[in-house]
């Protein structure tokens, strides 16, 4: 397989909890092997190296400051391939919840009425990376799944375009042998959320919160009804959809899209 590549990769972090980078470092058993397949040339959480000759840039976090947008444009010029890492950079994530309020109000909530340095707290509405630059591939999730991240790296090494599943979380949830949380009287976002996580949250006793974002073909109308039938009020339903997908729901009106 003479086409095997050894890409130079970099990790960049925008507004986020940096939990997705932590998931990368969490690939403990695989890290050594990983370092023989790729050259990590820029990764603040792991190395002092700060080289700009990367081919692949993994970007974590959503854009909430003008400087971040500028930084992204710079990265786009240098990288051959841009891959978003996690919910914030892929869908805007939880950060986009603030977009419902005015920037002044949001700033005040976090920093109080008289922040020490206005320049440091200035922010714009949160958005996913693809709103600023062209994105080649996306790894959703809050945080990303270790297996999926490694799968993407392998695809880059093998020279094939990585892809995401087009099925909901329920598909893998059934294969994992879980009792459906709706049977237990609890509501979940699995039926409209992009799979690929092996339903890890349900498997460990929680529910799906929808961190991987809505499927392109999600039947959101049906899901609003299902959630309603399971005791959720309109407000609560909107909150469930908004938690990870508010940017697209409010920007693109995706919540109403239905094909039969």
């Amino acid at each position: 397989m003479r086409w095997i590549k050894r890409p130079r990769i970099a990790f960049f972090s925008l507004t986020s909890c940096e939990g997705c980078q932590l998931m990368v470092l969490n690939c403990e058993e695989e890290l050594r092997e990983l370092s023989t397949r790729v050259d990590v040339v820029n990764f603040r959480e792991a190395t002092d190296l700060k080289r700009d000759d990367y081919q692949v840039a993994f970007i974590e976090g959503s854009v909430t400051r003008e400087e971040e947008a500028e930084k992204l444009k710079e990265i786009r010029q240098r990288a051959e391939t841009i891959i978003t890492l996690g919910a914030c950079s892929t869908t805007g994530g939880i950060n986009a919840l603030k977009n419902r309020f005015s920037p002044e109000y949001v700033t005040e909530c976090v920093y109080g009425r008289n922040p020490p340095n206005r320049l440091l707290v200035e922010n714009i509405p949160a958005m996913p990376v693809e709103e600023v630059i062209e994105v080649d591939y996306r790894i959703p999730g809050c945080p990303v799944s270790k297996e999926e991240f490694l799968g993407f790296v392998k695809a880059l090494v093998l020279g094939i375009p990585p892809g995401l599943p087009e099925y909901p979380v329920c598909n893998e949830c059934k294969m994992e042998g879980n009792i459906c949380v709706f049977e237990k009287g609890v509501a979940c976002m699995g039926p409209v959320t992009r799979g690929g996580c092996r339903a890890v949250c349900v498997s460990f006793g929680s529910i799906c919160w929808g961190c991987r974002g809505l499927l392109d073909d999600a039947n959101t109308d049906a899901h609003r009804e299902t959630l309603g039938n399971h005791g959720l009020g309109d407000d609560e339903i909107t909150k469930r959809f908004d938690l990870y997908s508010s940017f697209y729901i409010h920007r693109k009106g995706r919540c109403t899209k239905t094909t039969t």
Binding site: L150, C180, G190, A222
Partner: protein, 341 residues
């Protein structure tokens, strides 16, 4: 019918024998719901009168299964067949009928070595049941299992009436319990239970099952497909809980050290969006309504000729799992009603 009687003590000793000597999968309760799980102590086995939410097909046709292993260093490949000797206990008649159908599927044409090997080394033990609010096996001819099992247990007041399906089953029963010949009162008690079962169904299909392929053939353009298609998530749950759905995807993976490549088979479902999508991007069943119609037709029509039998065994699992209330008996009865009017 020749049958055996095993008292409760004999039953306990039988289960103990299985646990000690075999890889045993049986029914138990998980968070209060009946499931098939690996049974490691006799107490864990809890026979369930109602169907498990997931079917036992996973023990013969696992959700993910390694088929081939390739060495990328020397360019050789080898098939992988992982077929442990195992016992499945707590199978209801619908499950036994379903396994019979899977046997036909996987031995059709070029047989599937992985399934056939695993099946050959699997002992099937049935237990009697009662319908839940979704069951309709009495309409599908699958309420009773006359064959397709090694042993079948009918619970009685003081023990179990055991029907023997194979010599292998008889030996197993004799080795781990002290079976007596069943007498007339045992058989009578079994028949009474059967009558009670027959009276307990709340769902039925209002046509003879021989008519169903024709009913479905005449309903291709029925408005029900659009209607349920607009509610469907396309989530594949009905496919996965179904004991006779057997479609699969094949996927490759490479180990990170690039030394080995693996080829897997993974459950797939005809209700999922990209099931019929080809590499160029064309999707032969783009709409959920088309995919649901395909699934229902597979159950009641498409596979009937090929495998000499309907592929619905009336377990009702798909109706239970469907979060938007698409019920297989309601849909079928609507088609029957409109076919007759």
């Amino acid at each position: 019918m020749a049958g055996y009687f095993v008292d409760r003590r004999g039953f306990r000793s039988f289960v103990k024998g299985l646990v000690e000597r075999y890889l045993l999968y049986g029914t138990t309760l998980q968070e209060g719901f009946p499931v098939f799980k690996k049974i490691e102590t006799p107490e864990e086995l809890v026979l369930s009168s109602t169907p498990t939410h997931l079917s036992p097909k996973e023990f013969l046709f696992p959700p993910e299964e390694l088929l081939l292993r390739f060495s990328l260093e020397d360019g050789r490949g080898e098939p992988v067949v992982d077929a442990p000797e195992q016992v499945l206990m707590g199978l209801h008649p619908c499950d036994i009928h379903a396994i019979g159908l899977l046997d036909r599927v996987f031995s059709h044409g070029t047989g599937d070595v992985n399934y056939i090997e695993r099946r050959r080394r699997t002992i099937l033990i049935g237990t009697e049941c009662l319908p839940d609010e979704y069951c309709f096996c009495h309409s599908m001819g699958t309420m009773d299992a006359e064959e397709g099992f090694d042993l079948f247990f009918h619970e009685l007041k003081r023990g179990y009436l055991v029907r023997v399906g194979t010599e292998r089953g008889r030996r197993l029963l004799e080795r781990y319990s002290k079976p007596a010949r069943a007498d007339r009162t045992h058989l009578e008690e079994m028949r009474t239970h059967r009558e009670k079962k027959l009276e307990s169904f709340v769902r039925s299909i209002y046509a003879r099952r021989e008519e169903l392929p024709l009913v479905y053939a005449g309903s291709y353009e029925h408005p029900v497909w659009e209607r349920i298609g607009s509610r469907c998530y396309g989530c594949g749950s009905c496919n996965h809980v179904c004991p006779t759905c057997y479609c699969f995807d094949i996927r490759d993976d490479v180990t990170l050290d690039l030394k080995e490549a693996h080829r897997y088979r993974v459950w797939d479902g005809c209700t999922l969006e990209d099931f019929a999508k080809v590499a160029g991007g064309h999707n032969f069943r783009r709409h959920r309504s088309e995919r649901l119609r395909h699934r229902f037709n597979r159950k009641f029509r498409y596979l009937a000729d090929r495998f000499d039998g309907l592929f619905c065994v009336g377990c009702g699992r798909c109706s239970r799992t469907c979060l938007v209330g698409i019920n297989i008996t309601d849909v079928t009865n609507e088609l029957i009603r409109d076919a007759r009017s």
